[in-house]
Amino acid sequence: MEHLIDIVLLGLLMITGFAIVRMKSLLAVAMLTSIYSLLSASLFVVLDAVDVALTEAAIGAGISTILMLATVALTRDEEKAPRHTPLLPLAVVTVTGAALIYGTLDMPHYGDPAAPVHQHAASAYLHDTPGEIGVPNVVTSVLASYRGYDTLGEVTVIFTAGAGVLALLGYRTRRRNIQGPGIRKLVVLRVIAKLFFPLILLFALYVLFHGDYGPGGGFQAGVIFATGFILYALAFGLGNAQRVIHHPLLRIMAAVGVLIYAAVGIEGILLGGKFLEYGVLADDPVTGQHLGIMLIELGVGITVAAVMLIIYYGFVSRQD
């Protein structure tokens, strides 16, 4: 039965993709991109990829759309027509597409259990996780422990993006609260923001520490935490938000998150194990795994939240 939903969602995605190609107005394209990533997030839910759906929605529909719109707000809205007819790109695209379709002919069928993907490493992860790591959410155990080094690389990628945006856009602190003319009429938004702000932060912490048992983890929590502050900045103006979390603190938080992660790894070495070995952190290996996973999720959450806010401040503070 899920095939039907799966096929319909893919159809909708395809229509949205074609619409994005044809649309001239960049604001429309940005909104369609937000819908595109929301649809792909719900497709991930249908395909049982729970953590990925959470991350795709938080990052795709949330942060990326805001960044795209902040950029389009600075540039001309209308997209000029390309000067030369797009024959060469069409040729390149059809050749690449044909190569890929040619490649799918020998692929295992969609969803059949006999595919090599499910035989080798995956069954070991599913079988060993309860014993060795004792965390129900196998994705978190693979993300944080079996392939924990990938996640360290990932945190470094996020840190690089933060440092890059810091280098490119820097930051301008807004002393005065110069808002649009409609400042008086924001009362409704402010009341709701004041009501929801603590709830969102609390929910971010829940997602952070619930990552072992359900969908969640460092990244999703970091993005939700940053979304909470973005809501605060929207309702009460960027100046107040920068007073609540000012920029030097963000730089420190971004750096401290990566250092926490690396420190857990080096701690493994100092206690005589290998790099990123959590078993030696505590006397009992499984508790060591829990401790290790908890600490690195915290480090990841801090860095991601700080970098999201650095990027948001960088883009929005350039507007006026």
Partner: protein
């Protein structure tokens, strides 16, 4: 305890130092921290080389998980050579960077520059050391992202468009690599390179693996600027700050070549990639095209940094030519040229940085009579140029000699002729610069130009010294290159 964990520390130390550099407010402290870390990385690289030299291939399981489940670091002689190149160039360009950054970068960028530089160093080291396909993609992204930022810090506004163009092409390349790795994982079920190479023969003739091979080759070719896909390189190296051009020219494309070697020989295996897919002939054709066309274009450039960028594309053509022969002699000649070219191009770009500092421009028509004012810098440029051409007693000659030797043993005598002819092309464009600097009457305000500061001259001459040393006694490096080639091909021949 330190020695046993050396492979991991080699990447983790610069990775940890990058956030520390961001925390240091004062740019001078950040520079000092980056300097210490670069020299520490060089020391560790030498230690690692010695370990690999004695113990053979080192395997280090991260997190103490067995190989197919956890991520494994696997360093053989080829990897150790690459770490040596990256660490040497990094350690040499760091003292050079202080004055150059002060001069070319905007005041507020000097603090963040060192963080991005250390991240690029981490990414490059991470690519070379890892034995896991997806981990290679992650560190490839780290080094690419930080190099986009480094390029965009250039003095002129065109650095931004150059960085943007490199970002778009680099991301397409990285996504192609991701598609290739995904298809490989779909057919073999693991991500560890050794595991994939063992599981590949059963599924080798399926169409999916051929498409995965094609996508990975195209993706990596974009990263190493192989001829038709090199469009991003000239702008990137011309408008980037000089120290970034020097560091990138000497390491970024070289790591791309290493990734190509790793995929061809370790992952897909010699039989599949060269006999079944005939990639050798395609690469040879592209290499010949790269050498000829890039050298010709370099001759007509007025901006010397752009000329050196096109000459880099030509030199990569030489390296790929060596690899396309798929024999131990050919691959070791390619790796030898990889090392020599890294040293030569690093020195040449640093010399241009000194000229840009004093003259404010790198155009040939502004450099008339420069030799009298900046004798040491121009002497370094000439020495580097000679090595680029392949004059005896320089490193360039050694690697060209082995390339010609490898081509002749395989019976490709036209390739040997091509290598000699293209050296003449290199002579022409180097001569244009030398002629302008030495044999033209100095321009109006040339007398005000002073010699470059010692902090920039010594690193340039250090690299030239390495060049000349390899030219005289090539024993050590050729030995390492041959062992590297043997370990790469050795894995393939098993």
């Amino acid at each position: 305890m330190l020695l046993s964990n050396l492979p991991a520390l080699q990447v983790v130390i610069p990775l940890v130092s990058a956030p520390v550099c961001l925390l240091l407010r004062n740019p001078r402290h950040a520079w000092a921290c980056a300097l210490i870390i670069s020299w520490l990385v060089l020391a560790m690289a030498l230690l690692l080389l010695q370990q690999v030299y004695t113990l053979g291939t080192i395997s280090y399981a991260i997190g103490a998980w067995a190989t197919p489940w956890g991520i494994e670091y696997r360093i053989d002689m080829a990897g150790a050579l690459m770490i040596l190149i990256i660490a040497t160039v990094g350690a040499v360009t760091m003292p050079y960077a202080w004055r150059n950054i002060q001069h070319e970068l905007h005041r507020k960028h000097t603090g963040v520059y060192y963080t991005c530089y250390l991240l690029c160093l981490t990414g490059l080291l991470g690519i070379v050391v890892t034995g896991d396909a997806f981990n290679l993609f992650v560190f490839l992204e780290i080094s690419s992202l930080s190099s986009y930022v480094l390029i965009s810090l250039g003095p002129s506004r065109r650095a931004l468009t150059a960085a943007y163009q490199y970002l778009v092409m680099g991301t397409i390349g990285a996504t192609f690599i991701l598609i290739g790795i995904g298809l490989l994982y779909m057919m073999t079920g693991t991500l560890n390179m050794q595991d994939i190479s063992q599981r590949l023969p059963e599924v080798a003739d399926t169409r999916t693996i051929r498409v995965a091979f094609a996508f990975v080759t195209v993706g990596v070719s974009i990263k190493l600027a192989l001829f038709p896909l090199h469009i991003w390189l000239p702008n990137a190296y011309t408008y980037a700050p000089s120290v970034v051009s020097a560091f990138m020219a000497a390491t970024a494309t070289k790591v791309g070549v290493y990734v190509l070697l790793r995929f061809f020989f370790t992952l897909f295996g010699l039989q599949f990639s060269f006999n079944a897919m005939h990639v050798g002939e395609i690469l040879m054709l592209l290499a010949v095209a790269a050498i000829l066309i890039a050298s010709l274009v370099a001759i007509f450039q007025d901006n010397v940094k752009r000329m050196l960028a096109y000459s880099s594309v030509a030199q990569i053509g030489y390296i790929i030519l060596g690899i396309s022969l798929a024999t131990t002699a050919g691959v070791s000649a390619g790796m030898l040229h990889l090392f020599n070219h890294a040293m030569i191009k690093g020195a040449l770009f640093m010399a241009m940085g000194c000229i840009f500092l004093r003259l404010g421009s790198v155009e040939i028509h502004n450099m008339h009579g420069l030799a009298r004012q900046m004798p040491w810098t121009m002497a370094a440029f000439v020495a580097g140029g000679l090595s680029l051409i392949g004059v005896p007693l320089t490193a360039g000659f050694i690697s060209k000699w082995y390339l010609v030797n490898a081509a002749l043993t395989d019976g490709y005598w036209p390739l040997a002729v091509l290598i000699l002819v293209s050296s003449l092309l290199a002579l022409i464009y180097i001569w244009r610069v030398v002629e302008a600097a030495y044999f033209h009457l100095p321009g109006a305000d040339m007398h005000k130009v002073r010699e470059a500061p010692a902090s920039m001259l010594i690193p340039t001459w250090l690299l030239i010294g390495v060049n000349l040393y390899v030219g005289l006694d090539a024993g050590l490096i050729t030995n390492i290159a041959q062992q590297g080639a043997a370990s790469l091909l050795g894995q393939a021949l098993q």
